[in-house]
Symmetry: C2
Subunit: 269 residues, 2 copies
């Protein structure tokens, strides 16, 4: 007999930003696994066991969840935001891929959630109104060189850029290096938003420009949103209210090098 | 007296994929504006006026919504997915930016929703487990040349790529051209998922590889998800069940040209 594993995105923090689907499944589970502060968001009840773990023990957590589900329990693994975006879903499938054959028999359902970039975008206006990308600045799981490579190409593509894991105590300098590279490619007037703890008690947004952006404006709870060269700010008439930040749907100006189509590199042999 | 304008993401279709926040706001509105099939998802009631419009009249719709909110009504503009992703939020802020000064006084709240790429990713496993980008293939509002430019850079960056607006009756050839370009840069074994109408009655997923992908596999309701070179398929033990599609969190192989950091182009003067 095997149980069922639910991989659940809890959204950015406000319980109202949970999906109805997730709010229906959570009360039916026997076991919940996740980072302590995320588990604290879910009400206790006698028939629910909460298995709290530290922030960086993803693979242990995945194995624990699969083991419990394999024993027949109805297990939920919770992440903040969307579980598929720099969160637990990938760690669980990695564990299944390289783990015990019986884990491939476990029924799994992934429940999508509101990821930090969409919660932040909604507060700001419509910064993701055009093509965009999401990059984690953490070099724990990929080389820093790859991060710089992606930032460079993202800027050349004029994507709106969302930076996840922009700053932590162990990674204090990466965000400044990222801004340094982006400033070499993009104009200084591009809007940049530091979005801290969106929908939680300590929510705070700081709106600036790429020219003025500094790594020290972010912390562990900050999602950084960088506009494209067409992004605009709209001052609001009401006093003391932050301008709206949006990216227009249309692009008229041509900024692509003339010889672009003839210079397709082939990095893969 | 001014009203309030809510810009609401309804999620991909299943009413359970609405956020609790959106489900609380919708019953309080006096007017709803949007594309007919999206308005049909919301129950009728005597105190609600539904203003249906065609799919491509975004700016008319935005002006209509702002006019009603300016008169004091509590207006909702609805989009499928997340309203900020290739949907109505950007059209509304564009209209405010270039429109009547009084529109800048209207109170506006954007409610985030589950965008198609996250609903699709949840069904597939964890394809967005690493850095990713979202590109609309529609050349109605941007030059086709820019789309090719972005696809090329996205492939060189090894982003997981989500293609929105991949196919329509008026744009039948773009998706094949996109695959043609991606095949020049990326290896043929990369998983590609054609995700149609996720969470709706006619949901259908077709999983293939970049080498075998064809534009004719998509239609107007299809979101196309293209893995990166590290994305994996995990066969499930249970019969007749699609393999899981996930992208590992770690990147070990180095595939970046050696001289990368010294060749930062500067497309902006």
């Amino acid at each position: 007999m095997t149980g069922h594993l639910y991989i659940i995105g809890l959204g950015p923090g406000d319980p109202d930003l949970l999906t109805i689907e997730a709010s229906k499944i959570l009360p039916t589970l026997t076991d919940l696994i996740g980072y302590g502060p995320y588990l604290d968001r879910i009400p206790d009840r006698p028939s629910l066991r909460k298995h709290k773990s530290d922030n960086r023990e993803e693979l242990d957590r995945a194995e624990h969840a699969l083991t419990l589900a394999g024993k027949g329990y109805k297990v939920g693994v919770v992440s903040s935001g969307d579980a598929g975006v720099f969160a637990m879903a990938s760690a669980i499938f990695e564990t299944i891929d390289h783990g015990k054959p019986i884990w491939k028999e476990i029924e799994i359902t992934v429940l999508p959630g509101i990821s930090a970039m969409f919660a932040a975008a909604a507060r700001l206006g419509a910064p993701l109104g055009h093509d965009f990308c999401a990059i984690s600045l953490s070099d724990n799981l990929k080389p820093w060189k790859l991060i710089l490579h992606r930032l460079k190409l993202a800027a050349q593509a004029d994507f709106v850029i969302a930076l996840y894991n922009a700053v932590s105590k162990a990674r204090p300098w990466q965000l400044d290096k990222a801004f340094e590279l982006l400033k070499e490619i993009l104009p200084p007037y591009i809007p940049v938003a530091f979005c801290q703890a969106i929908s939680r008690k300590n929510e705070h947004i700081h709106l600036t420009t790429l020219g003025d952006a500094k790594g020290s404006m972010g912390n562990m709870q900050t999602l950084v949103l960088i506009g494209n060269r067409y992004s605009q700010l709209i001052p609001q008439s009401r006093e003391n209210i932050r301008p709206w930040f949006y990216t227009p749907r249309s692009i008229i100006t041509e900024f692509i090098p003339e010889d672009d189509s003839s210079t397709i590199d082939k990095p893969y042999p």
